[in-house]
Amino acid sequence: MGEGDIDWDRFVTDHAERVLRIALRIVGRLDDAEEISQEVFQECFQVAAAQGIRDPTGLAVRLATVRSLDRLRRRRARPADGAELRDSDRVTAIGPVEEAEAKELTDWLRDAVARLPSRQAEVFALMALEQASREEVATLLGISPDAVSTALCKARNELGAALDRRSGGPMR
């Protein structure tokens, strides 16, 4: 399918939420996520103009994942953010202790994902954060479903070990 067959308006309508969600779950900051989403669509359009796209959905999801991980890695030198955890306003009331716990844990997870090897990070982000199926991830990344499982297992092991190190030793 070439770009001539794509209804871009429909494509944007259908994919804006997913692209933004992927980015938000990975980077955790809404402003960053919006910027990444725009980058993703821009890249989709440019690729379409230059060479055509066979699977626009796959390209958008993959780009959203990769660009978000890129952003996360660039940001890793700084403490991770958790924009979803605002101080309370008129309609939210997160207790300070829970807020601190949740923020600390999600901050840590994002930082740890940014440290994973690229393939593992992509698989983990798509399966664990975006909750895509193994088959979908395999198709998106152009690898076998078994390779997806392997990468996910390695990623979880790596993250588990990192959690242990963070806690000062194995806690199982």
Binding site: V12, T13, E34, Q38, V47, D87, S88, G95, G160
Partner: protein, 635 residues
Amino acid sequence: MNDRKNGAMNTPHDAPADNSPDRRLDAALDAIHGTPVPAEAIERVARTARRLAAESIAPAKGIRPSDRPAMHWPRRELALTAGLLALGVALLVVPGVVAERRAAAAFAEVVERAKAATSVRFTSRQRFGPGPVMKARQWVEGKRARFEMVNVPLVMVFDLDQGEQLLLDTANKYFERSHTKEISMAVGDPVEQLARAAERDVEPVPGEPDSFRGKWVSVLGMADIPDMTVVVDHDSRLPTRIVISDTDPKHPFEVILDDFHWDEPVDATRLSLDPPEGYEAREGLLSLGSVTVAPMPPILDGRVIHDRVPAAVFWSADGTRLTTLVRDPEKTDPRAHEPNMLRQWDLATGELRWSENVAGAGHAALTADGRFLADVVGYEVQLRGAESGAIERTWTTGERLGPLAFSPDGATLAAGIMEWGPYGGRGGKMAGGIEWWNVATGKLVRSIALDLPTTHLAWSSDGRFLAASSNDGPVRLIDATSGAIVRELPGRGPLAFSQDGQWLACATQSDSGHPEIGRITLHPLADGSTQPRSLETAAGRSPSTLLDLAFTRDDAVLVAADWNGDVTLLEVDGGRVVHTLRDHGDGFLGTDPVPGVHVVTPSPDGQTLATGGEDGTVRLWSPGQGGGAVRREDR
């Protein structure tokens, strides 16, 4: 209802059952999955992407130029998003990109194109030193310009050919027309600023192919400003954003011009030097010189407290003190968040009387006699003496509490239950209700369950009714003694009882774009013979989500605060818009969150209205005097 989702995060009230890495990893994932994706952000992304599609794809498909979006796309975002792949593709599809040009020549082209434009409109934000940000909308066509201040009820129209200027005080409907040789459009004319910058060295901004930086330019009547950045539209080569700044701590300032629309015909009335109908001539409104080369002075008379964002504002019973619950602006980087605070200000001296940490508290309430304040931190209800802010009694709850309201006699505290967050301990399930607490003993008197989070709560002045609503509606009128739901009314969000107990005002809004947005229904409480009344805010502006409602002390006027930053005063009889106060800013300046007004509260004597907004100010108004503002600025 209290079942916890598998793997959800431990709260301080639930001992961790399993602290294994897998479980904690799942808990972190649960927390991330529970993060909502704001609908308005999705819409922003989609809207932007459609424009991008039109720019990137449409030309190849033969779409007419008129179908393409106006040239005010924020190019900064495009520039920032240009990764290596994007840049590579761009090099393929867009021949002759700026990277191959000499910066000076490219910038000279920008200046020439800007000079050739027939007109431009844009927005500006100026900050000089520690002063307030002055925002304006501006139009320039040839040698004529219009300058509409947003923070200040002031409009200026210049005609350089005639050497004439028209000054309008839109609050009091005064005008002043004068002839002067000293008019400078330096502050208002971006083309003039560009032309001045072109005389100096201009260099490209690394990594941003459509941006230029000029050093030591002379603009705004000042020489050698260290930094000027110009971002241009990739296709039209016309500026989309100009930032002029000096970070020298001795005289820091920043001027941002953006949201440019080039070559759009300007309505002749905007540039007319004739005063609008109904305006009265008045001399000495303001000196033009002070406007063009220096920050605007504070407005006329009134008072402002500059602080963090006031989520709640309370008057003391004698009207001499204001207590505020303040939080960080929504745009604050979460890492930089500071605890919410309760603060009390002395209005006679403008001094802060006390400040107490209430981290996590988003709501507070004050007794009618002004003696006690209540807030909820975590699961602890705190009762404070309003005079000192000191905690006098605390008790714990098993529910996550939101809005608070004291009974008129101060003996009972009602609290709305809000369970809906990803960390809510109910697996993200929404729930609501109301709890009644005996203030003297801290004992729970009664609790009722409702199906949606109780986001707004009010107690009628006679103590008979409580009104509770959620952001998604409906409004429930509840017998304050028995807890029985008396009536269920259409409406959602903010609500207010009239002082005489005759009316319950409810916002009837829904989501953005809903036809009911900005409308208020007054439900009669006394008997069945009176029909509900419908009021509408937004005189001449797009309506906006209402954030707070309050009746004036004499019940003659209903005050409505909205997310556009407007405070609308509506006659209860007839619904006429008496006045619209717009001093809290305006949502049209794209990069900042919309500075909504969160709270409106009339003073006990009814002579003053306090409003608090996302702009981090509490403003005091005298509605009877044309809504004048700012007598003094307290920091």
